[in-house]
């Protein structure tokens, strides 16, 4: 081998060796915010995270997309020794588990000025972080394929939609919520005692289900016409419904639905707790709440945010939607989540 060739080999080896150290020296303070992937990220990042970045040019904010809260919890747990996530948005029942495991720093009323602006419903006993976005569970349907618009959850058990149902399985909270709904609709009684009726009902539905893991999500499956029915969340559903011009319908069936709370949590052991708190304050503040609700129709927690009536009408917090909500104790569900997930794995996902 000639000397030139040897140098050719050596140069690419040596240069990058130094690179991480060079970059480290110049690195600013960074925080990592973990929140949902997909359409949530597509809207939350420009509406909230980018605005925060502009307001804090000294901070580097990474948005780490996660498919669901259960995965986020797993991630935070695995990094307990050296957390790489500073702020995590997750649903309240998973946040309860995380709080019980001492993964989050409590943010009680008074710990941040912005917390005084929040509705009392934003503070959930036993959960470290406050609520940041309200939502509710909905039945999704494809108006061209499902006529007339469905009025009952039982449409999911209608054999004429064989192979046309897309549902995200447990441990995703969408699957957990479906268990509670099915339990009620099929006469399972108090879910605190048993959800056996719900599990059995979903097992009966299973052969008709196209996929338990729709990618990117059930909404897209419906819009593309691959599926005709699904379950999901009001805010995402409303956003997609508006974008797709009639290819997606969002319904709250007559049996009622579930209210959902997304919380924002500060990870214990964060290397940048002040920067993380600054982000949390911003996310709960009037500007972010207004911007995001007007963009994606999550129910706001900040009572001072002045949100357009048109956007508010699409959120979970309207009186007519609130009237249809069933009582659900997500804190109690937190303790049942692992067992429900286990039953899904054993009794539902294996049924063909």
């Amino acid at each position: 081998m000639t000397p030139t060739r040897r140098r050719l080999l050596a140069a690419p080896l040596v240069l990058p060796l130094a690179a991480p150290f060079i970059r480290r020296a110049a690195a600013a303070r960074t925080i990592t915010v973990a929140a949902y992937s997909g359409i949530f990220q597509e809207n939350y990042e420009p509406a909230v995270v980018d605005a925060f970045r502009r307001a804090h040019p000294d901070l580097e904010v990474t948005y780490y997309p996660i498919a669901n809260s259960a995965q986020a919890l797993g991630l935070v747990r695995a990094q307990k020794a050296a957390p790489q996530i500073d702020v995590v948005i997750m649903d309240v029942s998973v946040a309860k588990t995380g709080t019980d495991e001492d993964l989050f720093e409590p943010l009680p009323k008074g710990s941040l000025p912005v917390l005084d602006e929040l509705t009392p419903k934003a503070f959930i006993p036993g959960v470290a972080g406050p609520a940041v976005l309200f939502d509710n569970y909905v039945l999704l349907y494809s108006p061209p394929q499902v006529k007339p618009a469905p009025t009952s959850w039982k449409v999911l058990w209608d054999a004429s939609y064989d192979g046309k149902i897309a549902v995200q399985a447990a441990p995703d909270i969408v699957g957990i919520a479906l268990t509670l709904i099915a339990n009620k609709v099929f006469g399972g009684g108090d879910y605190h005692q048993s959800v056996a009726a719900g599990i059995d009902a979903i097992a009966k539905m299973a052969p008709h289900v196209l996929t338990w893991d729709p990618k990117p999500d059930s909404y897209t499956f419906l819009i593309e016409g691959t599926a005709a029915l699904g379950v999901g969340w009001n805010a995402r559903g409303q956003t997609y419904a508006r974008q797709s011009q009639g290819k997606l319908g969002v319904a709250i069936p007559e049996e009622g639905s579930l209210f959902q709370i997304n919380t924002i949590n500060l990870v214990k052991g964060s290397r940048e707790p002040d920067a993380a708190k600054a982000f949390i304050s911003y996310a709960l503040g009037t500007a972010a709440q207004k911007a995001f609700t007007e963009r994606m129709f999550y129910g706001p927690v900040n009572t001072k945010a002045e949100i357009s009536a048109e956007a508010l009408a699409r959120t979970a917090a309207t009186p007519e939607r609130l009237a249809k909500m069933l009582d659900v104790d997500w804190i109690a569900v937190a303790k049942m989540r692992d067992s429900i997930t286990d039953q899904w794995r054993r009794k539902i996902l294996r049924v063909r």
């Binding site: 995965q71 196209l210 996929t211 338990w212 893991d213 996902l349 063909r352």
Partner: protein
């Protein structure tokens, strides 16, 4: 002197291989506490739960059956190619070898994605079938069919290479002799070609089976959440449920399956030789 040279490599091996593996095996003898905690005392609890739970047995059975189907399919698809490459002229042989090895250089994520495009509901094959007048072609992804098809293709290069390595004893003169004596082509294949290629078949099947049992990327992307296998369960238990003792015990079971396959291979190839 020689031992000194070995110290750094062996130290790294101990650090990233032996220690983690022993630690893993030891962890299966601890209890999982709710919420990802791990008990401090040695216990057979995790193993007892696992072995008395029909779910994990069916998982093991499912894994083994699916892997056997994939192995058999890879053998069926790989054998003609290997035979063809083996018989090709040297110049063609090199080119064909490159075509066989090339997919190995492409990440399994990418190849699985390729299959998603081919088999997906709006992908190439269903579109083709619909074009041929089949209004509702069967679903090819998000079930076992997709996983089997894609893994067969992904493991075929290993099968082909193993077959070729074992084809050494195959001699065209023998085949010609048999046909000139009036044997029909199929008889020649059954009586001459097949017996001579058994070593390659055994090696290829071992490799394909072992890789199928431990494959994770393809089942998790193409399974649609309804193809529960040991490998996907290990990942779910480790990352989502954070039940490390169960994940560790399942890993030990996978290693045991490996052991059985290896032993079987040893027996068969000795019996054959």
């Amino acid at each position: 002197m020689a031992l000194l040279l070995l110290i750094p490599a062996v130290a790294v091996n101990l650090l990233v291989f032996l220690w983690p593996m022993l630690n893993l095996a030891a962890l299966s003898f601890r209890d999982a506490l709710p919420g990802g905690g791990i008990g401090q005392v040695l216990s057979l609890g995790t193993w007892k739960d696992l072995l008395t739970d029909g779910y994990y047995w069916s998982l093991l059975l499912n894994s083994v059956v699916v892997s056997l189907i994939i192995t058999f399919a890879a053998l069926l698809c790989g054998y003609p190619i290997a035979l063809f490459v083996h018989r090709a002229s040297p110049r063609w042989r090199n080119l064909l070898m490159v075509a066989c090895i090339a997919p190995l250089l492409v990440s399994a994520v990418v190849r699985t994605y390729g299959w998603l495009v081919l088999l997906g509901d709006r992908g190439l094959l269903p579109s083709l079938l619909r074009g041929l007048g089949w209004a509702r072609p069967p679903r090819l992804v998000f079930n076992e069919v997709g996983v089997v098809v894609a893994l067969t293709e992904i493991l075929m290069p290993y099968m082909i290479l193993s077959l070729l390595a074992g084809f050494g004893r195959l001699n065209p003169v023998l085949e010609e002799a048999a046909s000139s004596l009036g044997a029909r082509p199929f008889t020649v294949f059954r009586r001459i070609v097949l017996p001579l290629t058994v070593p390659g078949i055994l090696l290829g099947c071992l490799l394909a089976f072992v890789l199928a049992v431990s494959s994770f990327i393809t089942p998790s992307l193409l399974g649609g959440g309804r193809v529960p296998l040991l490998a996907t369960e290990i990942y779910d238990q480790a990352i989502v449920s954070l039940n490390w003792p169960v994940a560790a015990a399942l890993s030990v079971i996978v290693l045991a399956v490996f052991g059985v396959a290896l032993t079987l291979y040893g027996r068969l190839s000795r019996a054959e030789a």
